[in-house]
Symmetry: D2
Subunit: 360 residues, 4 copies
């Protein structure tokens, strides 16, 4: 119900503005006795952190997380875990020139009409800086699920399309994802992507991306029909990420062009184990996990802050032009990978606990 809270049993609430003193979150409902350290969380934070390559925003944030509550002697106590991340490199002056204008594609206009007031510095609350707090929450979910489900549990995200360029998904290589600055799973695609994105950046333009998430080591039975379906909650969680415009589960939008035969994943028993001959469903049937790998993907629109001059209006409703300078990612989709993983981790832990509640 809460506007800034996500989840049912495992819930996190985020707070903070791009250019305020800090941002953070409270994680509530985490199981007790989970060993968790600042390092576990920082690991994911660093993967999302800006300023690491020439392909992301040059804002320099160490994004150091501090845990303020909810752990004792290195373990969760079952009480709320409060985490804080100080803003270090907020350059509010950059935003003086746009404080009375609405940037096209941004939420400046809709925030102003809704609330009658807006913190224009760096986008305030609408800034993707908020997603750092989710990544912190997601790290806790990840650690908890590793303990609850075992080491087989894993969520991996990758950029499978960068603007106009795709990659070969059958070349999916997890080690490769961790090595290149694009989270690209296909080693062969990288060189072209690099050239492409440099060109986009040089042109002062931006491009979108598609991210795919794969989760494995998950038992069947997670997800609660009808309105807490696992895919429904994933869709909600992924669509809540800044700039996301589309969400697919399994075959996703492409399911529309499949035949009934192609789409329904046949089931077989191989040496006493249930297997599926394909995974068009993305591991979810009727909103409940089937035990297969869970696969979701989402599209991130191109960064709205571009150098090109764009038409817009100002607060008084007068026509004007705008060109956004500041420090921006040419493709926000890249840094969306750890954010998508975080949301997947959180949704899965939440549903693990929900299922344990009802079904034991």
């Amino acid at each position: 119900m809460s506007f800034n809270t996500f989840g049912k049993i495992f819930r996190f609430t985020t707070w903070g503005e791009s250019h305020g003193p800090a941002i953070g979150c409270i994680v509530d409902g985490c199981p007790p006795n989970i060993a968790i350290s600042q390092k576990d969380i920082q690991f994911d934070m660093n993967r999302r952190r800006p300023g690491k390559s020439k392909f992301t925003s040059q804002r320099k944030e160490s994004d150091k997380v501090e845990i303020l509550s909810g752990t004792f002697q290195g373990k969760t106590t079952g009480t709320p875990i409060s985490m804080i991340i100080y803003n270090e490199d907020a350059k509010s002056r950059d935003y003086e020139t746009i404080k009375n204008k609405f940037r096209p594609g941004h939420a400046d206009y809709s925030y102003f009409l809704k609330y009658g007031i807006r913190d224009y510095r760096g986008g305030g609350r609408q800034s993707a800086r908020e997603t750092a707090a989710r990544v912190a929450a997601g790290a806790i979910a990840r650690v908890a699920l590793k303990k609850l489900l075992g080491k087989r549990y894993k969520v991996t995200g990758a950029v499978i399309q960068l603007g106009l360029l795709g990659c070969k998904k059958d070349k999916w290589n997890e080690k490769e994802i961790r090595k290149n600055p694009f989270f690209c799973p296909d080693k062969e695609a990288i060189k072209l992507w690099e050239k492409y994105l440099l060109a986009v950046r040089k042109a002062g333009s931006s491009c979108g991306a598609v991210i795919e998430l794969r989760a494995s080591g998950i038992p069947s039975g997670l997800g609660a029909p009808i309105y807490s379906k696992l895919d429904s909650d994933l869709a909600s969680g992924l669509m809540s990420i800044n700039a996301v415009k589309g969400v697919n589960i399994g075959a996703g939008m492409n399911a529309a062009i499949l035949s009934g035969e192609e789409n329904s994943d046949e089931i077989i028993n191989i040496k006493g184990k249930t297997k599926f001959k394909s995974n068009k469903a993305g591991g979810i049937l009727g909103g409940i996990s089937s035990g297969q790998e869970i696969i979701a993907s989402f599209a991130v629109k191109p960064t709205s802050s571009i150098l090109s001059s764009r038409e817009t209006i100002n607060k008084k409703g007068k026509n004007t032009k705008i060109s956004v300078k500041g420090r921006h990612d040419p493709c926000v989709g890249i840094r969306a990978v750890p954010i998508g993983e975080a949301m997947m981790n959180c949704v899965l832990l939440d549903h693990y606990l929900l299922n344990r509640a009802q079904c034991g």
Copy 2:
């Protein structure tokens, strides 16, 4: 939180199985003093009802809704509105042959693993019959919004892709949608669609569809960042519809291939009114409605019940084959149009009320 409840302020809870005595829903949080009649609701029910053409299931249900509470002298009282729809044409015998087998693509397997028990008759709770109850709830939302926002308020859905066949969206014609059995907005596409679907049906196969929803007459300011974004709640609502695998807002998945210039909708003032030069955002910026038309689309996978023989296992885990007879829609996507509209109506009313709560 509740598994079978959707919404925050305007909430509905559905209940019932495909082959039980009845299905229904409770609508809670509806504003008082809204004139509403059984006819208003029946109108939408009839649009979803099966058995109306050779392109949908031959199950004969009058789908007559009875209002059991929450209205007095023709008006809502602000108390819960309970509605019931009796099941009339449930042929449970059809399901005897499959009661120990898991139909591929259906939720038989995942329900059984989750709950350890399943009502196999017509799919029980996983049946798309549940969606009739949402349509009843959506009708109330529609009537309430017409009163709150005025007659300009409107939600229209259409099938824009039937299996492999598209249509021309620039030929979108609302009258046409109401006339043909496919909810197709483009008159010219119909003939081909008809032939195609008859062929699919004859082959004992099935196909998917893409449905687009357009809502107009909506003020800016609806939607509450971060985790109750309008698009996030739409995604959750649409993904909760049976067989839906993908959800787009505005440009959706295609946003990934647009440039920053193409994607950001420029804003202009024309004679004192704010206009946008395009609508890639689908009327939602930062999770908040901008006043533009709200556009969402979703993909429905092909009906899983097909005549072709498919491999599967039985309850004992033994390999076996299955061929689903029964009475099924060759394309469940068609009847998803009024269901999608219902979800859109419900989400919009809910957010109208939420926004009124916080922002007055």
Copy 3:
């Protein structure tokens, strides 16, 4: 969040008006595979049913519950359980004379001001008839908890004070409670209570009552600090019962006059089992069950519908007088016993599931 829903995981939503066609509820989140029959539920319904003695309302309702969904072959399936109870003896004419007046002590006035419309027939939604639906939900909770916790699990309620008359709590006798029409636990008090209530009734007046609930066979660990404390949720649930004005946990309001020594229940180990030397806490410490018997009590105000003429105003704001005839309980507190038990059962099951979610 929902106005007419109670609970978090085990949730019920009630609907219906006193003089509408029916009332009912949906129970969501019940664990699957619980054997439950209509009889199990009817047993509790009959204990609440009016018209059984001269000390309760003469309205004749068989209060027969029908289960419409959520069970299959006699067991819960984990899907929503819809139950309906038809209204049989609604005499709406009785209310014609008061339809434009506000009965003092009733919610006529506040409903009208809130909603601008009210169903005056029998109080509409504000009628205590709504509580029948909770009793049905509570019966399911009771059966589920018996299965989950074993036969030791038990909730027993009794009237410990009838208007000005108390009883001896150390004479608490469960068999006696089931025998007398007052749910009085002390055999010796009954005769006087009978005379007293007949006198109250004859005078056209009414009296209040205090009900005590005792729950045993409950493990420690139920209850989730800070805002889902077991006592906090019990207080909310009991206070939501019509006409309840006060709720105590353990020593309750009397805790204020105890010394620190008297109040803190000492803990001892007797033959390997933890025992408490007293139970001032009512079995709840810091919002979490301690394993002791859980004890709560609540006060029900005297029936507001009395024969005596009372001053009031009508819908136009004019001063007038009112004397409520109809058929009313001289002490609504008596029938509140099974209702209180129902709320206790529901809160305990909900917290059992919540605790299982977080702590396994």
Copy 4:
């Protein structure tokens, strides 16, 4: 749903342990454009602060609140307001001696059994220190309601009973409440209270208290039947305060001994205004505010930390004795006054917004 969150639209989530680095809360759903300063909040913090007189704990905390987000240029923006209060005077060594023992009357035992781990330093999360965070949230609610309802809006709490000593409620004097260290409304009672509490303290014992809250300037129509009744939510909120064991609305537990005539508040029109001849209902009818003053009271049990030696067990289940030294309030009820007010402010704002949502 969330364990550490209170409220529906106006929601706050608290975090932090007694001896951790800090405590705090996030306030979500606050209306935008409310002018609010750190001073507004500090005002209430100071009223709850320990160490101000010899009658409260000698722990020295400045309880300085910092606002970290959600305001811009002195006004709320509609986004989450994060507040932090650093712990300054935590003496964890005091707790070394009791780390393996369960203090009777405290939640040591139940926390340990629930979570299998507990932060024993100062009670960790179970400490009443948590209530500082609610007071901060309540201050925001108070300021918002003043803006929304006008200056007539006011909530005043007072201690009306201190252990065995009462006071004359007809001598209720708001100025007096602000002057004496007991929040006592009756000037004449103070001298005796002072002597009494000094004696209790000297004896190393403790005593309980009853606090009464009065709220005025509230429109009719707040409160949403059936399960979000205003009194039900107040009961939940007040019972969630540490050490509270009983909650009354209006006549409360005493309603049981009133006659129907005494209890039902007659309604009259005086010069065009609706008045009630009495207020046994405490301003709430059927869960909805009637426009009268809202009156609630609650009992706080005596401080469980006392010098007297008490029997208990240790973590290994062995019998032992305990005597709690540390720095404790001889009557925690006194400092509960601003906490009760805070909960009342929060509940009222939440219901104001909820009512605006549904009824406009």
